[in-house]
């Protein structure tokens, strides 16, 4: 279940307009009683999508649990920018152990709580895409398979940002990273099958899986809230922009995340027990070019010469997402979308 969309104010977004909504429906972040789970003063880059996503997600989880929450964090930007001691940003009990074990540490916390008969305190594990879909994948899958009572949140900025933007298993094809440079016949990251961590999570038939982006923070809050109303293993995969790694102005973080959704590059959906149960429809479909051109990590697709074949391959992937997840209702197709479909 996603947040109820109110179409009479800013289209497809809850970024503004809280004033127009009744108080119960307002965002957690707009409330004076928000937890500030990650308080100000941390050292993330300006416009860091991960900082924003984590703040919204954890504040929503804090509200859902009445502040009765413990978090385990993987190594990565989020961990590093938030804890150069003694300047910890964390206002909740928080542990960082290693890069690849956040899900297992979360399991340990949940097991300890269970052994102590504590049924009220809840557990969130979190990490970047590297800590989740690559080095942390075995621990994550084990946690899912056992259905441990943990919500794991992946903040996916599509590369190993903390170590200087290297390719991860979540890096999209053609993207520049420092280990997939924009040189050679097929510049940027190679074209593999990709690795959809949320679909793999869903295949574990756990009670809740969702994707979200920082373009729709109210939706992210609602999904976290929903996840916290459920027991067992839950997973939320949040696309977060990284101005440094993506080559976007800090002021564009939300816009680029929205483009990822509106082009069909990043499908936003919810699932339970193996099935996709809801998708967020695209309201104004845009060609992938708009998304690609907004980021210097894809600059080599346009300069020094345009590489139409590669752009079309990216478009084909987005089209497949749209078909596969039903991201567009036929009646809502808009002219741009039709144009794109015709061109691909």
């Amino acid at each position: 279940m996603t947040a109820t969309r109110l179409k009479y104010f800013q289209t497809g977004s809850f970024a503004a307009g809280n004033r127009l909504v009744n108080p119960e429906s307002r965002s957690v972040q707009s409330g004076a009683e928000r937890a500030n789970a990650i308080t100000c003063g941390h050292r993330a880059c300006q416009g860091c999508g991960e900082a924003l996503g984590a703040r919204y997600a954890l504040d929503a989880a804090m509200r859902a649990t009445g502040g009765d929450l413990i978090a385990a964090n993987a190594t990565g930007c989020l961990e590093v920018f938030s804890t150069p001691y003694p300047e910890s940003s964390w206002q909740l009990p928080w542990i960082h152990s290693l890069f690849g074990n956040a899900a297992a540490v979360s399991t340990g916390i949940a097991a300890a709580l269970r052994a102590k008969g504590n049924t009220h305190t809840r557990v969130v594990g979190q990490g970047g895409d590297g800590g989740t879909v690559d080095i942390g994948f075995a621990c994550l899958s084990g946690m899912f398979e056992r259905d441990d009572d943990v919500l794991f949140i992946c903040y996916d900025n599509e590369a190993y940002m903390n170590t200087g933007v290297q390719r991860s298993g979540a890096t999209p094809p053609a993207a520049f990273t420092t280990t997939t440079q924009a040189v050679g016949e097929e510049p940027g990251a190679p074209w593999g099958q990709g690795k959809s961590a949320p679909l793999i999570a869903l295949a574990h038939e756990i009670p809740y899986v969702a994707t979200a982006t920082i373009a729709d923070l109210r939706d992210l809050e609602a999904k976290v809230q929903r996840a916290m109303s459920i027991r067992g293993a839950r997973y939320i995969h949040v696309l977060v922009t990284c101005p440094l790694g993506w080559g976007t102005p800090s002021s564009d973080s939300l816009r680029v995340a929205r483009l990822a959704v509106e082009t069909g590059i990043f499908p936003v959906w919810e699932g339970a027990y193996g099935d996709v149960t809801a998708v967020t429809k695209i309201r104004h479909r845009l060609p992938v070019e708009d998304y690609l051109q907004a980021q210097t990590r894809f600059r080599h697709l346009f300069k020094p010469r345009r590489r139409d074949a590669l752009i079309e391959r990216v478009q084909a992937r987005a089209d497949r997402n749209i078909r596969r997840f039903g991201l567009i209702d036929p009646v809502e197709y808009d002219p741009v979308a039709l144009h794109v479909e015709g061109g691909s």
């Binding site: 502040g67 804890t83 009990p93 540490v105 008969g117």
Partner: protein, 417 residues
């Protein structure tokens, strides 16, 4: 209660009496019987409250223990060999965070070549991991030292590894005195954590530390481990007082007070060594043994006073530091610095090769006769090594060593060429 029981079952029952709240484990021989026993006790409701988590790797096992311990639960796991290596990153993390996890290591060789039998390569490889390492000689001592391990760990907020010889102890059925649960409860108070993940009092654990304090944090870890040199004997004394038998502690001397030759060793081989010493003593040879029960922290001063009066020391080691030789003997060298004691290193029992009385007799006789030089490899089959060296000289594509040498031995893989 006296029982005829397998070492692993005795350890499982003892650990259960220590009331761990979270047990996480991944199977590997020869540790399996311990965790199988514990899983049964938890499942049957005999150990309650306790969560038994079947994890997907040893890395996860140690990580679950880290999370559980930081949440205030007494946490236990067991492993061996490859499993210990697989959790290496988390081992350093657990000790760095100061979490009093207790782990049994059912000592086993390391691959390649893969080998399931006993030696000390696994735990010795983690001697610098910040864990306290206790080595036991018998299954009785395994039982007793596990009880002590929880108390030592929780007193110091440091993790403790109890190292017991795989198969030789874990699978041996012998008479063991198991404690009564009430005795254990009286000996081991409930776990009172120093740091806790608690929403009522939020704290950040595992923060980034830069050059401004990293040295001090590491120094403190060292300092705390050195404190164990006081705590371990205290706990052993408290144990003896309550249970009426001596177990654990730092060292154990055997007929060595006046000995010219002292044999240093760890673990179950001490039994065989002591038998040989008895025989030699009967023949008038001045020889004794020093059992190292606590290897980390290294009881340097105690080792020195136990050995400095000897003419020579023969260190019998079940591990090999490739590129230098003995591991324990390096530590013994440090302890005996400035003395006139001659130190010999003997590598024995690797990968489960039996350390026989006759081999030991020969080794000790050579030592006493001044015929040991450098590092001695007890019972090394030189012809096997020479054969493989010859093959390597004759042809570039000589193939894998282990398979070649096995073929020469003629046990497996032998077939028409």
């Amino acid at each position: 209660m006296l029982e005829q029981i397998e070492g692993s079952q005795a350890v499982a029952r003892t650990v259960a009496m220590c009331r761990p709240e979270v047990i996480c484990a991944y199977p590997i021989s020869p540790q399996t019987h311990i965790v199988e026993g514990l899983s049964r006790l938890v499942k049957a409701g005999e150990l309650r409250p306790c969560e038994f988590v079947n994890v997907e790797s040893e890395y996860a096992a140690m990580s679950v223990a880290i999370g559980a311990s930081a949440t205030g639960a007494r946490s236990y796991t067991a492993t061996a060999s490859q499993g210990l290596l697989y959790m290496a990153e988390a081992l350093y993390n657990a000790s760095g965070l100061g979490l009093p996890i207790v782990m049994t290591v059912a000592n086993r060789a390391l691959g390649a070549p893969i080998n399931i039998w006993n030696d000390h390569s696994d735990s010795m490889s983690q001697r610098d991991s910040g864990w306290i390492q206790l080595y036991v000689e018998s299954n009785q001592e395994a039982v007793d030292v596990h009880l002590q391990a929880f108390r030592i760990a929780e007193t110091l907020s440091l993790p403790v590894m109890v190292c017991m010889d795989g198969f030789i102890l874990t699978h041996a059925v012998e008479r063991v005195e198991l404690p009564e649960p009430e005795q254990v409860d009286a000996f081991l108070p409930p776990y009172e954590p120093r740091q806790l993940l608690d929403p009522a009092e939020p704290m950040t654990i595992g923060a980034m530390v830069g050059p401004e304090a990293y040295t001090e944090v590491r120094y403190l870890a060292h300092y705390k481990q050195m404190q164990a040199l006081d705590v371990i004997p205290e706990v052993a004394a408290a144990f003896e007082q309550r249970f009426g038998r001596s177990s654990g502690g730092l060292l154990r001397s055997y007929r060595s007070d006046d000995a010219e030759t002292i044999v240093v060793a760890l673990g179950s081989v001490l039994g065989t060594i002591e038998d040989v010493i008895d025989e030699l003593r009967d023949q008038g040879v001045s020889i004794g043994a020093l059992g190292i029960r606590t290897f980390r922290p290294w009881p340097s001063e105690e080792v020195r006073s136990a050995l400095e009066h000897a003419k020579r020391v023969i260190v019998v080691e079940k591990a090999l530091s490739i590129g230098i030789g003995g591991i324990v003997s390096q530590n013994v060298h440090g302890a005996l610095e400035g003395t006139a004691v001659t130190i010999h290193t003997a590598i024995a029992g690797l990968g489960g090769r039996p350390i026989t009385k006759s081999s030991l007799r020969r080794l000790f006789a050579d030592g006493i006769a001044g015929e040991l030089t450098g590092t001695t490899f007890v019972d090394l089959d030189h012809s096997l090594v020479d054969g493989e060296s010859e093959r390597m000289m004759q042809t570039r594509r000589s193939g894998p060593h282990a398979e070649n040498m096995l073929r020469d031995v003629g046990i497996v893989g032998a077939g028409p060429v």
